[in-house]
Symmetry: C2
């Protein structure tokens, strides 16, 4: 297990708990958040915490899958806002705790989020696919 | 580096090269392909290779980022079809080559794809974000 994986697990647990001090504690001060679908970017811990704190709706999240290697983590979230269900996919980069030191000092330096929406299957492939 | 990472790198290189024998060689016979956005699923290597072989358009791909741990890999693709540009995110599970044996025997057992589309940013957050 990489330390950055643990940092990312704390990041999502703190978001779900609205514990914004713990949330901020997982982030590097110069963290950069990027949303390629809208071409939006947020720079710096303070703004990024505010963005999450102000995010509207009674949202809840559950981590479906997490894949980690040193310095990089990806999560796949199941995200709900009221009755609406979404997937969220987040690519994290950051620092792992150097070996031989206390764990828990890894920090997230970048987050890139994707929010894929449902769509209708294109025609001409139902001889190969099943719907679920 | 995990062996499954190498298998996934071969998988995408073979797709881009339309080398369907090499592509099939990265897959377990009972591979399952899932598209949560359309709720489509394809079961088995033969159908899944056919799905890719028949996929319309002059598509090309480039791997932007890859994150791997034993048994799990995620890729973030830059994908083009003519002038259209897309992101593709794929979660792979599979088998790594057992240590002490020849490499290259890892096989992909599941693939879950997400294809996020551009959208307009919601109102009320442009005090925190920049567009790029």
């Amino acid at each position: 297990m990489t330390d950055l994986r643990k940092t990312v697990e704390r990041f999502w647990a703190a978001a779900e708990a609205r514990d914004w001090d713990a949330f901020a504690g997982t982030l590097a001060e110069d963290v950069v958040y990027t949303l390629p679908q809208t071409r939006e970017q947020i720079s710096g811990r303070e703004r990024y915490v505010q963005f999450n704190r102000e995010y509207p709706g009674d949202w809840h999240l559950r981590v479906e899958r997490i894949v980690a290697e040193p310095g990089q983590v990806v999560t796949w979230l199941h995200f709900t806002v009221g009755l609406e269900e979404m997937y969220g996919i987040s690519f994290f980069t950051g620092t792992d705790t150097p070996s031989g030191t206390d764990t828990g000092t890894g920090r997230i330096t970048s987050i890139t989020d994707f929010w894929p929406e449902p769509y209708e299957p294109p025609a001409g492939r139902d001889h190969l696919t099943e719907r679920y």
